[in-house]
């Protein structure tokens, strides 16, 4: 899967789960500050991403993930 396609897929999940506009989901966006996501939102987002990309994300891997870019890189690393 190429990077752009993957990011579109990522964006779709984020828009649906976080109930934000697509153009808000930029690589620099911070989940808490910019996208108004609380911890439950993030849990939901991870679940949606796991389903969408058919991957599994361990709790420990989410530590320190605060921006869209970090989350996206994590997802990319799991999609062969």
């Amino acid at each position: 899967m190429d990077r752009d396609t993957a990011f579109d897929k990522f964006k779709t999940c984020a828009v649906e789960v976080l109930q934000v506009q697509p153009d808000q989901v930029t690589l620099e966006a911070k989940f808490g500050d910019d996208l108004d996501a609380d911890s439950l939102d993030l849990v939901e987002l991870v679940m949606a991403l796991e389903e969408s990309f058919d991957i599994t994300v361990d709790e420990s891997e989410l530590e320190g993930v605060q921006t869209v870019s970090q989350a996206f890189d994590l997802v990319l690393s799991k999609v062969a």
Binding site: D38, L40, V43, E44, M47
Partner: protein, 250 residues
């Protein structure tokens, strides 16, 4: 009526341990309210791919909540046929009574596995869709033993008390999604679980109850359906004793 609960509008209600006692009384009540009710028990019902829900009346699925794969399989089937569970009544439980000094590892872990860990498994599987729907009711059936203690039930009481801490933590975690998590703590109820006691033990038990009798299962079920109702929309993290006054003050 808030969008949060649609009482009697065919809500999907799951009652574990629903073939007897308190569970069966709950099933009956929810069916009478017009909800779509599915209940589990360790035996009876149909496990695995089996048939779908019946055309009428409650659906009975076999599920041993001490086995993770059984819980997943049961929920997958329910969601496939009816969609996500909107009201969960975690009622299934068992006892392995005995004084602590004689309580085997097995007697301890069996009770904890089914009554506490099994509930963790069940609730975890059910709340994901509730979170997405931004509404849900989770009602855990604890026991007066868990609050006041009961000689011969260290394992059971530990598990039942555990449900209180569990429920309250969850109530805090999920409140932002309008998922209400509450606990019902029945006293002595006229079910098979009481069948193990002899006349003398029964007499002694009843003598301690201010109301002077054991509860009928419907008297517990009524409180459960209340907690699932619109009238209980501001109640979360609560422990409601339904015990004829037995454990007053706990």
């Amino acid at each position: 009526m808030s969008p949060e609960v649609r009482e009697g509008a065919g809500r999907v209600v799951l009652v574990t341990g629903g073939s007897r006692g308190i569970g069966a009384a709950c099933v009956e009540r929810f069916v009478a309210l017009g909800d779509r009710v599915v209940y589990t028990s360790r035996s009876g019902g149909d496990e695995g791919a089996g048939a779908g829900p019946p055309a009428e009346g409650p659906w009975h699925i076999a599920c041993d909540q001490s086995r993770p794969e059984a819980v997943t399989a049961a929920l997958d089937r329910i969601e496939k046929e009816w969609g996500p569970v909107e009201v969960l009544v975690a009622n299934a439980g068992l006892t392995r009574d005995g004084l602590l000094m004689r309580m085997s590892e097995e007697a301890w872990s069996e009770v904890i596995d089914t009554n506490l860990t099994g509930v963790y498994r069940l609730v975890k599987r059910v709340v994901g869709p509730m979170m997405r729907a931004r509404r849900g009711r989770v009602i855990l059936v604890s026991s007066v033993s868990g609050l006041a203690g009961q000689a011969g039930q260290a394992n059971y009481a530990a598990a039942k008390a555990g449900l209180v801490g569990f429920a309250r933590s969850l109530a805090r975690e999920l409140s932002s999604r309008s998922i209400l998590v509450n606990v019902v703590a029945p006293g002595t109820v006229d079910t098979d679980m009481l069948g193990a006691l002899n006349q003398a033990q029964m007499g002694e038990l009843v003598a301690r109850v201010p109301l002077g009798r054991v509860a009928r299962p419907e008297e517990i079920a009524g409180v459960v359906t209340f907690l699932a109702s619109e009238d209980a929309s501001y109640i979360t993290g609560a422990v409601l004793p339904v015990d004829g006054g037995l454990a007053m003050g706990h």
